[in-house]
Subunit: 188 residues, 2 copies
Amino acid sequence: MTTRISKKEEILDVAESMIRTSGYNGFSTRDIAISVGIKAASVHYHFPKKSDIGVAVTERYTEHFIQSLGEPASFKDKQHAPLATYIQVFRNALIKDRKLCLCAVLGAETGGLPLDITAKTKIFFERNMEWLRSSFIAAFDIPAKAAQKKAALVLSSLEGGLILSTSMQDDQLFEDVADSLIELMSLK
Amino acid sequence: MTTRISKKEEILDVAESMIRTSGYNGFSTRDIAISVGIKAASVHYHFPKKSDIGVAVTERYTEHFIQSLGEPASFKDKQHAPLATYIQVFRNALIKDRKLCLCAVLGAETGGLPLDITAKTKIFFERNMEWLRSSFIAAFDIPAKAAQKKAALVLSSLEGGLILSTSMQDDQLFEDVADSLIELMSLK
DNA sequence: GTCTATAATTTGATAGAC
DNA sequence: GTCTATCAAATTATAGAC
């Protein structure tokens, strides 16, 4: 006897999928209703405004994403570990989900979004940068500024790599980005 | 006596700006009309369907972008030249335009776009990858596969860097990405 | 919690006058 | 080439019954 997830969670699941595929302005509350199997009015019962869905999806996505990375401190002196872990999370998005990172999509639409959603998107990137910085400091024992630069390159290139790979319909392009990162960062 | 640009060009200018700010689904043909100073019906005279605007903008953007890069062959044996040139074009988008790359935005919305627009977006990335590959082969005298990997990293990280920098409201993040690329690529 | 019904607005697009 | 007028459909959202 499996526990059924609530309609509220189902709405978030569908919304996350739709944003990661078509962007926040690429679907309607009615689209969500149809996909969940309820009426649009019922969607508004759980989330009065569409932007409430966007905010909730982004918060939940951020928590799941950071949790899936594990503890930065555990990479002490293990130089390859944090990058390998990080690449795998993005590879799963591309290969298993066949979708982009939620916040890369929202970041690309920034000017067309409600402000409460852009605020949550910013937090996603800040928390990921923090994870990468502290992981690189633990793994490589390098100064904060060097870790910041590495983190900026890794996060930017993997977010961009997902977009390029998807747009070009070429999974190998993502692997080329990953290979480049691994090769170049073990040299430095 | 300066030559006035046509309304058709003005529509493309405004549409390009709006897509790069809010995404293709983040504005209406009426928004364009207001910004150009005509009525929505007049926009449809120049471009019958909204997607015709998207296709025309993407084609024009691609041509301008590639032209601004110059000839790849001119970088023969000049190792720093192609990367410096490429970074500067993206830096201009961030600092001068205060906008993302058109095709990064369209790439992020892929699933919610008319197919003729996604086709043009794909061509943008293909032509940029080709420019980078041939530039790196000329500059570094390296095998095609090594050039492909470098090109994938450079294009992905600069596209992603623009998105992160904009979303985080932190121009320095883009410079961190650029510094990382320059440092790591001159070592390899 | 979900439904029907409805409303105000927006959107993409067309017809036809000037 | 631009306008007024118009439209059908979609979109976000609310009121109130069950």
